[in-house]
Every structure is written in C-alpha cells, then in structure tokens.
C-alpha cells in the first residue's frame, strides 16, 4: 500500500516575524550556525521525513514603496543566504533524508547548475534534488542585471531549454565509463563520454559534464506551482510537483482537481501519471491543546506588523500596495494591479470573484491578507487533530503527501511534529516506520 510522503520546508524559520517568538533565535545565535541545522536534519530524520526543502530568493523585497526599507526593517523574506552550503554538512550527520535546493533557471547557466547538482549528488550519496523555478520577482532579477521582468511564457521556454541542457549533461557520461586501471594508466573509456553540443535559443553548451556519473544519475527534479504552464512542465520533466493546498473543509477538492489536471497532462503526452508525484503544501501549527495551538497562531500573526504584511504581499504579487491608501472598490484595485503588471490569481482576485466589483478594500484588509499569507494557520490544533486532517486530505485529495511548513521554531515546532504527529500517522499505517535500505532520494519518493 502506498504511504504518505512528508517533506519538511525550512526556508523561513528565521524571518517574517518568526524570530520574534520566544525560544527561537538571539542576535548571538542566529540562523547561520550550522549546528542548529545539523540538529534539525537529525530530528527530521528521526521523523522519517523524505527530504528538507529550501526555497530560494535572491533579493531583498523591494516592491512596497519601491524600496527595500520595509522589508529590511521588519525582516520580510530576508535575509536569505545560499543555503546549499549547509547540505553537505547535513548529509554527513544523517543517512537517509534528502535535500532539495531551489534554483532559478532565469539567472544561471545550466552548465554551472548541472555540475553543481551532480557534485552535490555525489557528496550526499544520492540524496540531492533540485527545484527548478523561473523568477518573477523584481528584487531577484534586478540583482542579475535585468531591468524588466521577462514575459511569463518566455520564462517557461527558457526553463524548458535549461532542463534539457542539464538532462543532456547528466547523461553525457555513461555509467561504467570509469576504468581506473593502474597498470595501463587508462582512466576512463572515451567511447562512453559524449559531447552534447547543445545550441538552442537561450543556451549553448558543448559538454560533456566534468563530473563522474552521480549516484542518482540526475538529481530528483521538483517543479512548484500549478499554473497550466507549470503543469505542462512538470508532466514533461519532473519527478514531483509541489502545489498549494488551499484551506477550508473542501481543500481536498482542490487537491483532487490538481491531481486530475496533472493526470490529464501526463496522459496527453504519454507519461504514466503515477510516475509524477504531487506534494501539497501545508502549514500546521501544533499545540498540546487547541488553546495552546491557537495562541501560537495568534502570536505569530501579531508579530507581523501591518507594514511587514503589506511588504510581503507586494513582494509576492510584484505590485506596490502602498499605492492603495484608502478604501477602494476591489475592481479598481485589480485594474491597477493588472496595469502595473502584477501577478494574477491571488486573494484580491478571489475577493473580486466572490464579493463583486464594488466591495471596498482598504489598507487594513490588505495587511490582513498579507498576514494570512505569512501565517496561513489553516491547520491549527492538537497532534491528533493535525494527523486526522492530514490523513483525510491525503486519502480524499489523491496527493502523494505534504510539504510541511512548520513555524515558528526550528527546535520546538519540528520536534513537536516529529514526536507527536508522526507517531500517530505511523500507528495508523499511513506513514513509514523506517527508511528502506540503500534507497536514493528518487527511489524513495518517486520510485
């Protein structure tokens, strides 16, 4: 019987108000200490998680008031270090858990990323994955020299070619090419090493890769987000899709819909749909009692100031919400967003759909939307309640498991989930009690 998969999302323990919670960080002992992360990886491995997942962003948010000031002041989605540097250390203190780094296809050359990923796959012993994204955030692309954000479709075309180049490079040295004969001095068989000579619209690369074939051959590939282009990309290229789960009692319906869309896309291109896993994001806040869990959620939301919430919302939609200074009809807000090239499909658009064009939106409401973005608090309760809900969503939604976003504390919230929620799922027979022997990350999650 298939088991639920659990991934641990670890991008923002240290920012977005989480650092304000008691028992989190101090100025002297902040999130850059690798020992904290080693402990976290070991805890997650005790909880049999499939992998640790890092998102990525390359700039300090600057959409709100066209300035980094609010994000800097309140710690909104920053700082963000290159967390891939932690992975080798964490791989060394664990045996089974995998590691996924998000990487933008908009800014890097695929040769560098293919080489980096293959090297990482060696050092982790076949436990490395890449989440390939294209970047839609102004603060990111301005750091890499782009004045204007490339068009959405163009970003996907580039991403497709990027993964094509990477895939060719990962296959450029056949397994078994290495000879290492000390008597003749023959190191490797040239007949099994192939140039790729890629010449495309966005990239050229001669290859082959200068890295020996890695344990997984290529890293686990994840795609995040369920837009039509995202679904098409995932069906064509990925092992796993990460998708939003939504909230409310009917959240499973949205999951089912997303699974169906992916199935249809896979079928359309002749891929076995069961070979593409879908993992839904979830944001549980767990307490010993309902009151305790709700108290944590309330405090987390209170820790996000209005300005921080608006800065977050502006960053995620690439629209400057400081320009909405008074109660404004939602239709007008949407018009201004679209005129400014901000992204569609967010909560504002939902309000327009559900409340009608004349519904008034003011800065307080917008700040609440931003706050709910940072602290979704859609799954707040005791370990039993959280386990019930995850099991229900898994059974009815048709997904393969969850990317668990735990907040606010690395130590306490992850420990709580591992020690209290995981055993319930194991007891019910829906989650593994042990890792398999000698599995690579892909074999375990997408095999």
């Amino acid at each position: 019987m298939a088991m639920m998969h659990l991934n641990l999302e670890v991008s923002f323990f240290h920012s977005d108000g989480n650092w304000r919670m008691p028992d989190t960080f101090t100025k002297e002992n902040y999130f850059t200490d690798p020992r904290l992360w080693a402990e976290l990886a070991q805890t997650a491995e005790r909880g049999m998680f499939d992998l640790l997942f890092w998102g990525e962003g390359y700039g300090i948010p600057s959409s709100f008031e066209q300035s980094i000031e609010s994000a800097v002041r309140w710690g909104v989605q920053w700082p963000r270090h290159d967390q891939s540097v932690l992975i080798p250390i964490l791989a060394y203190v664990t045996e089974h858990i995998g590691f996924v780094q998000t990487t933008s296809t908009s800014f890097y050359h695929p040769y560098h990323v293919a080489r980096f990923a293959a090297s990482m796959d060696h050092v982790t012993g076949g436990r490395f994955g890449l989440n390939l994204i294209n970047s839609g955030r102004e603060s990111d692309f301005r750091n890499f020299g782009f004045a204007e954000l490339p068009d959405h479709g163009d970003r996907y075309a580039r991403m497709q070619e990027f993964v094509d180049v990477c895939t060719a490079l990962w296959g450029s040295i056949e397994p078994g090419a290495l000879i290492l004969d000390p008597v003749t001095g023959e190191f490797c068989d040239p007949a099994l090493v192939h140039a790729i000579d890629h010449e495309g619209e966005y990239f050229r690369s001669a290859g082959p890769l200068s890295v020996l074939p890695s344990p997984q051959g290529r890293p686990l590939l994840i795609q995040a987000g369920g837009s039509p282009q995202g679904n098409a990309f995932a069906a064509r290229n990925s092992d796993v899709q990460y998708a939003g789960s939504g909230d409310g009692p009917d959240a499973w319906k949205g999951m089912r819909r997303q699974r169906d869309l992916l199935d249809a896309e896979c079928t359309r291109i002749g891929r076995d749909p069961s070979s593409l896993k879908v993992i839904f994001n979830t944001y549980p806040i767990v307490g010993e009692t309902v009151e305790e869990a709700e108290g944590i959620a309330a405090l987390m939301r209170a820790n996000v100031t209005d300005e921080a919430a608006l800065s977050y919302l502006s960053h995620n939609t690439t629209f400057d919400y400081s320009t909405i200074t008074e109660a404004t009809p939602v239709a007008e807000v949407v018009e201004r967003i679209e005129k400014a090239g901000g992204s569609r499909g967010g909560e504002i658009h939902a309000i327009l759909r559900e409340q009608g064009p004349d519904f008034l939106v003011d800065p307080t409401l917008l700040a609440d939307i931003g706050r709910r973005g940072i602290v979704p608090a859609e799954l707040v309760g005791t370990p039993g309640m959280v386990a019930d809900r995850l099991q229900e969503l898994w059974e009815r939604g048709g997904g393969d498991g969850f990317a668990v976003n735990l907040r606010p504390s690395m130590r306490k919230s992850v420990g709580m989930f591992v020690d209290r929620v995981v055993p319930i799922l194991q007891e019910r027979g829906v989650f593994r009690k042990a890792y398999g022997d000698d599995e690579t990350l892909r074999e375990r999650l997408a095999g």
Binding site: F107, R115, H122, F144, G185, A195, R204, A206
Partner: protein, 450 residues
C-alpha cells in the same frame, strides 16, 4: 604581515593526472570524490597548522589536443573536476582554524551569485573562506558556457576587475551593525545601514544590496594568480594573497618586485600582500630517493596524456606543430590563438632561447619530464626540505609562504608525512607557527599583531 612561513595545500588534482595510479595513493579510501578522504586531509592540514586548503577550478574536460576529448578522458587529464564548494563545507565541519579557498571564473559566472555564495560560506565556516578568481584561458570551459572563442586577454581582466568591484560593493552593502533583532518592537534591521549598490558597468548591472547578513570576515580573503604584467596589475588592485610559481630565484624576485611596484601605484602597502609560492615537495630518505619518488609521475604519464595536458594549459592544439620547430614558433602560435603561455613554455624559453629547435616527440617528453623534475620541485629529507623552504622564503621577500602543489606525491599519506616530519623542523627553527592565532583566516594570514 609577519615574516614567518605560511602554508597552503592545493587539492585540485590529487585524483587526476596520473597521481591516482601511483602506489599508495587514495590508500584506505574509495576513489574521488569520497568526502571522508577530504575530511582526513583537512584534519591533517590543521594538525600541521596550515593556513589554507586551496581548490582551483576549471569546468570543462580538456578537448584541445587533437580537437578531441579522448586523450584527456582516457588518461584523466584535469578531469573529473567537481564543484568543490560541497567538499569545503564538509572539511570546515571537522576543523576550527583551517581556511578554504574556492576558485571561480569571472568570465563565466555572475558576481551576485559568487558574492552571495562566498558570504554564505564565510558564515558557516565562521570566517575561514577565501576566493580566487581566474579569467579562464581554457577553451573547454568557454565552450560549456556557450562561447566559441576565448575573449581577449585584456578584456577578460577588465571583466574580472569589474566583477571584483561588484562583489566588494555587495559585501559592504549591509553594514556590520545593521541587524537589530528587537523582539519588542519587531524591528529586525536598520534600513539606514542597508544600501543598494546600483552598479551599472560595462559587463554587469546589479542593484543590490546582498540579501545576506554581514559575514564574519566581511568579505572573503581574495586570492589572485596572474603572472603576466596585466595579471599582476589586476592582482595589485584587490588581492590579499597572490600565488605564483616558486623555485626559480630570479623569477621569484622579479615577481615580488613587480607586484610591489604595482601595489604602490595603487596606493597599497606591499607589506600587506602575501605571495604563496607554488612548490612541489616530495620527501625521501635522501635527496636521490626523494627525486626518484618524484619522478614516478613522469612514468605515470603517456605521451598522449602529456599532449592533452600541454594543449589544455596553453589553450592551443599543439598536436598540429610540424615535426621540427623552434620554441619561438610555438610561442607565436599560442599567442596567435589567444592562448596562454604556460609556465612551461616560458621556462623553456628562458633556459634555451626562442631559437631552440625541438621535435614534437621531444616536446612531449619534456612535458612528461617536467612533471617529475620541474623547477618548483623540492625533494629530500625533512631537513633538506626545510632548508630549501627557508631559502626560498628569503628569496621571495618573507611575506607569505608556500602553496604545496600536486598533493605532495600521493594523498593522504604525502600530506601526513609533510605535517609529521617537515612542520616540526620549521617550528623548531622558529620560522613557522606552533599555535593558530586570530579569529579569522584573514587574521591568521597576517600573523600575530606585533
């Protein structure tokens, strides 16, 4: 800077270029890139109070010789070469004082990526990271990043200088005391201390600031290795440490003098910039046996392998030379192809003059021989080696020390022998540290404050 010897160890090709064949190599370990082996090397280097472990970088499999990958692939010439940054973090985990250098090509990478990666590494190594930039003269590298031809030598250095400007601006874009972390008010950082850089140059356009916290060293220690006049000018602009070919006294004096002049022209104090001289150390019971041991690498190279090595290092397919030619003709050929005169061609010219005639086979045999008995070779007993290191240190101006090339014969044993037998001699003579000092790699490289 103190006048004692500083030591660095080059990890780049311990696993390639015939060294993997030598008896005793990779003893006790699976082959590259087994991280456990690198852990052992890091522990050993720290036991020997080294300043730095060094990784060079090149991203392509050499394909210059006969216009093909085959010879390099077959004999393991400068390949495989993995991204070393994952191994650096593993080595940092088991050490406290040892520094680590990574190399990137400013010709192909973006400075925002490199600045951010090095900042992040400086955090997790707690102030022990160094960055070496290269312009990259290797065709195989260029082709992987989409270029048919190497850019002009001067233009590559222009780009490197701009690359460094961008990195330096990014590393200082968040001031050291910008982080507030006030739980009561929720104020995380002081926006007045976080600055966009708004760089708009010839090669790069970067708004900044870096989305990272200030790191322990603020910026990594900067290394640079250019030996051409232009390379020296560039290193004089930003390098904290230069590395150069060691062994030939006249060449060492010339390099130190030129660098010092260039530093003064840039308003920098020559006392602040170290040179690490690249030398190859092989130990033995006496000089003759050490030389025999060093010579084993010659036998590990076939002529075909030597051709791949030479073509890759010069950037020019020297398989096309006629049967007989003069050194001057080869050097002209290299220059005409925007190649780089490897130290080898230069040293032959210095020794024999441009009119010296050789055959293709002689050229390749000389390459093989030079691997076993190059001018940078220091072979002998621990006392002999210490004598020669002291002498070279004196010649080089006593500001810096040595980069031990090519894995001291075989690893891990060769490094352990150096640490156990040569280091104590240097310490006894008072020319080498007995304890680490300072909080960061930069502190340690400058030595104790007097």
């Amino acid at each position: 800077m103190d006048d004692r010897i500083h030591l660095s160890f080059d990890l780049s090709f311990l696993h390639a270029e015939g060294r993997w064949r030598l008896p005793g190599s990779w003893e006790g370990y699976d082959y590259y890139p087994n991280p456990a082996m690198y852990e052992e090397l890091a522990r050993t280097a720290e036991r020997g109070k080294f300043d730095l472990l060094f990784w060079g970088d090149g991203t392509g499999i050499p394909d210059t010789w006969e216009g093909s990958l085959d010879a390099a692939v077959k004999w393991g010439i400068q390949w495989p070469r993995h991204d070393a940054s994952p191994l650096v973090t593993i080595m940092s985990r088991v050490t406290k004082h040892l520094g680590f250098n990574l190399t990137f090509a400013s010709t192909y990478m973006h400075p925002y990526y490199v600045a951010r990666l090095l900042n992040s590494l400086d955090h997790i190594t707690e102030g022990r990271i160094a960055l070496n930039l290269v312009t990259s003269t290797r065709r195989a590298d260029a082709a992987n990043f989409g270029y048919d031809e190497l850019a002009d030598h001067g233009a590559r250095y222009d780009k490197m200088e701009e690359f460094v400007d961008v990195c330096q601006a990014l590393w200082s874009s968040v001031e050291a005391d910008a982080i507030v972390l006030d739980r009561e008010t929720g104020i995380f950082a002081d926006p007045a201390k976080v600055h966009p850089i708004n760089h708009d140059g010839e090669y790069f356009k970067v708004r900044g600031p870096l989305n990272c916290l200030p790191s322990p060293q603020g910026s990594p220690v900067m290394l640079q290795a250019g030996s051409s006049d232009r390379g020296i000018r560039t290193s004089a602009k930003f390098a904290d440490v230069v590395f150069a070919v060691g062994g030939n006294h006249a060449a060492m004096r010339r390099h130190r003098t030129k660098l010092d002049e260039a530093l003064r022209e840039n308003g920098r104090n020559p006392e602040d910039v170290a040179i690490l001289w690249g030398v190859r150390v092989v130990l033995g019971e006496d000089k003759a046996s050490a030389r025999r041991r060093a010579g084993r690498i010659t036998d590990a190279f076939t002529l075909d392998a030597a051709g791949a090595y030479l073509a890759h290092n010069t950037g020019v397919d020297l398989s096309v030379v006629p049967d007989r030619f003069t050194l001057g003709e080869v050097i002209d050929l290299v220059n005409a192809n925007h190649g780089s005169q490897s130290g080898l061609l230069n040293s032959w010219q210095a020794e024999h003059g441009a009119d010296f005639v050789m055959t293709k086979k002689e050229m390749l045999e000389r390459v093989r021989e030079s691997l076993g008995s190059s001018a940078d070779l220091i072979a002998g007993t621990p006392e002999d080696v210490a004598d020669q290191l002291e002498e070279l240190h004196e010649v080089g101006g006593k500001r810096g020390g040595f980069m031990l090339n090519d894995g001291t014969d075989v690893v891990p044993r060769g490094l352990a022998e150096f640490v156990d037998f040569v280091v104590p001699v240097l310490q006894r003579r008072g020319v080498y540290r007995t304890e680490y000092e300072g909080d960061t790699l930069r502190d340690r490289l400058s030595g104790p404050k007097s």
